[in-house]
């Protein structure tokens, strides 16, 4: 059948038409062979725009459609549906990306951009002529989800998924779930107790029949694809039998070895056999092999004597667990900026310079001082200065805003003022950013409570002989240099991508943003989806967020996973490779090339021939380029189509 092509050149408001002469491109398109109708449309993706295409398909008997508009990543699916609704096979569509590839990058060169748009349309028409109708494939999916990370994001996602009836594997690398939120004292702006709102949810995770909690475990391998991921999880040896351990703590009482407690950011000591914090879930003790005297020197075993249930087992080995899941939610969290990287601020050198997270632990009733904020000499500070944006909004360190530092400081200042209104509190900031429900109101309250806000941050701190800290700061609000001497300085450190982000990124085949956080498929419309189907992001591993935003993001990720798996099968693009057995020589080169092991040997006419297992083929096209007989064809990207595009683009 002869091709009858309709070409639609989108203005995209002024996004395209502000640079490219869309009318001229449409006029040009009308002169191309087999083009029956060509139009320029203000917004092609809008309802009237799509209706025009539908009407033309009917009126002009179009059997191919070319849309010159934005990236196919944006609206390819939209227009495929348009074709489908007009009774045309959705794969008889070709997109010429004249926005991201022409009007945006060449906005200062209008004529060249218009010329380029014409060339891209010419190539799209040349390819469209050779398009063939394709049938969508359906894959069965596992109705289960892997959640990586047991902070508040992972907890929220796991509970939402489990409530929707999906099986959940929640993997947390440390001995307990809870993440950073478990370390916090209060939450802003409501001054709720962080642990009080988090720990019931942690217990829900442990008790939910649909959740398998794998704490002290790490995901080490991910294979497969949307709906059918095969995941290998390394369950690290706790050297304590989880079935037998009742969490009584007799072992830790007996253990003679004390080491810095990570949960208290090193401000207190824990034993070599420990739970990170009293409300840990699971409440199972873990022996830290790097500190245990028996494991290091072969002598001690006091815990074995102390345990009333015989739960300690030094012969325990790491264990590999394999699970099949349909989707993966990554909730790997963040780490805080190391304030030692800015030596002039004196962290690690001056004893009364602490970080925001350390202040959280100090002010927490279950923290190392029982909730008393004290200076290094054990006195209550009469004056405290907060320094904002440490490591954040700084091109030397991290360019981005940590999003929580301003509100965290306001909350901590509130608690200090509430405890003793006479404590002098200074906040040295670049800008106070208090966008959020009830946040600006909270900021106003703090100003009314007498907290002094200084519009500027010091570049260097000095310690006086009495342990007090001195610094100068230029206040942009009053244009005065202010000199301060305070008992304690709190550095509000920024948020950074977690340490294992890169390992996860490689394992999951997903992308990172330039900052090193996970990159979503679309910044506005797909804020939880990875560009790899079936993988979703939740919380701060995607970008810095406060607790409320993290919970909302995690619920969104869970909803997306539920939507994906709810029907028990997913439709995937039919863009796969096929082998012509008449041409295939049975050389087997393609079998070694295929990264998905989707090619097998079969009999054809009494001879060995390669055959592609369609459900396994992911459509990379690697075998097509490798086949010495040109026996393999790639649907949607055929040899003829690509060569026709090259011809069209090199013409003129």
């Amino acid at each position: 059948m002869k091709a009858r092509i309709g070409v639609y050149v989108c203005h995209c408001g002024t996004n395209i038409a502000g640079v490219i002469d869309a009318e001229e491109v449409a006029k040009y398109a009308a002169t191309l062979p087999d083009v029956v109708v060509a139009r320029d449309i203000m917004y092609t993706c809008s309802d009237p725009g799509q209706n025009t295409i539908r009407e033309d398909i009917e009126k002009h008997g179009l059997n191919r459609v070319v849309i010159a508009a934005c990236s196919p990543k944006m609206h390819e699916n939209t227009f495929r549906k348009t074709l489908e609704s007009a009774g045309l096979n959705p794969y008889l569509l070709e997109i010429a990306n004249i926005r991201e590839q022409a009007s945006w990058p060449h906005f200062r060169e209008r004529e060249k951009a218009t010329e380029k748009a014409k060339a891209l349309v010419r190539a799209a028409v040349a390819k469209a002529k050779l398009l063939e109708p394709l049938e969508k494939r359906e894959l069965m999916v596992e109705k289960s989800v892997l959640v990586i990370g047991g902070g508040v994001a992972g907890i929220q996602a796991a509970l939402d998924l489990a409530e929707a009836g999906l099986k959940v594997y929640l993997v947390e690398k440390s001995p307990s779930i809870g993440g950073h939120m478990a370390q916090l004292n209060k939450t802003f702006p409501t001054i709720d107790c962080s642990a009080c709102i988090l720990t019931p949810r942690m217990v829900d995770v442990a008790n939910h029949p649909n959740i398998t909690l794998l704490a002290y475990s790490e995901v080490v391998k991910v294979e497969g694809y949307v709906g059918n991921f095969e995941v290998t999880i390394l369950k690290k040896a706790r050297y304590v039998d989880e079935e037998l351990c009742a969490g009584c703590g007799a072992c830790a009482d007996a253990c003679p070895r004390k080491v810095p407690n990570e949960f208290d950011v090193g401000l207190s000591k824990r034993k070599a056999i420990y739970v990170p914090f009293p409300q840990a879930v699971p409440l199972k003790y873990t022996i830290d092999p790097a500190s245990c005297l028996y494991m290091k020197y072969g002598r001690c075993k006091l815990c074995v004597e102390a345990c009333p249930r015989g739960a300690i087992n030094f012969d325990q080995k790491d264990e590999e667990v394999k699970v099949k899941v349909g989707a993966i939610i990554v909730a790997a969290g963040f780490k805080t900026f190391d304030a030692r990287r800015i030596p002039s601020l004196g962290y690690g050198k001056y004893r009364n310079v602490i970080t925001g997270l350390e202040l959280e632990r100090l002010s927490n009733a279950s923290g190392p001082t029982g909730g008393a904020v004290l200076t290094a000499s054990g006195e209550k500070p009469k004056s405290i200065a907060f320094i904002q944006c440490v490591g954040s909004r700084d091109l030397k360190y991290n360019s981005w805003c940590c999003r929580i530092g301003c509100m965290a400081t306001l909350k901590q200042a509130f608690l200090i003022k509430e405890d003793d209104p006479d404590t002098e509190v200074y906040v040295c900031h670049i800008d106070m950013r208090t966008a959020g429900k009830g946040y600006e109101e909270f900021y106003r309250k703090l100003r009314e409570m007498g907290v002094r806000f200084i519009h500027g941050v010091p570049s260097e701190l000095f310690e006086d002989s009495d342990g007090k800290l001195m610094f100068k700061v230029f206040d942009q609000a009053t244009c005065h240099m202010i000199e301060l001497k305070v008992d304690m300085v709190v550095l509000q450190t920024g948020l950074e991508p977690a340490e294992d982000v890169e390992r996860l990124q490689k394992m999951l085949n997903v992308s990172l943003s330039p900052e090193g956080f996970f990159l979503e498929a679309h910044p506005k419309l797909q804020p939880v989806e990875a560009s790899t189907r079936g993988i979703f992001f939740a919380g701060c591993c995607h970008s810095p967020k406060d607790i409320a935003e993290t919970v909302a993001h995690a619920s969104a990720a869970a909803t997306k996973a539920i939507t994906l798996l709810s029907k028990g099968k997913v439709a995937v693009d039919p863009l796969t490779a096929t082998i012509n057995p008449e041409v295939c020589s049975g050389c087997e080169i393609c079998i070694g090339i295929c990264p998905y092991r989707a090619i097998q040997l079969t009999e054809y006419g009494g001879r060995r021939r390669a055959k592609i297992v369609d459900v396994l083929c992911q459509g990379c096209g690697s075998c097509v380029a490798a086949c010495p007989s040109n026996a393999i064809e790639m649907k949607g990207f055929t040899e003829k189509q690509i060569l026709a595009q090259i011809d069209a683009l090199t013409e003129g």
């Binding site: 945006w104 990058p105 906005f107 951009a113 096209g621 690697s622 990207f637 090199t650």
Partner: protein, 116 residues
Amino acid sequence: MSRIEYPANIRVIRVMCSSRIDPVHVLYALKSGADGVLVSGCHPGDCHYINGNHRAKRRIILLKEMLKQLGLEPERVKIDWVSASEGERFTRIVKEFVEELKKLGPNPLREGIWEV
């Protein structure tokens, strides 16, 4: 980070993976008069299709050897890696490549310079 400028004389052909690109496509583009061909895909180790970019790299390196034997500057073909968030990097690579090609001058295979 959008609207970063790069030279307007580059034309893009979309494929699912850099490993779909047959060296024949590159030769065909050169024969058809393109002054240079840039093959671009995910960074090594980050391939969306597991290892396609490694295959693409090997094929292009071999092709460049062949170009030498054909008497065509291997610098006319380039393979480099750009991830989805690296608009700046893409721009830089394109700018540099266009500069290199300008130094090389027009493709001798283009009609009127060499007979094919």
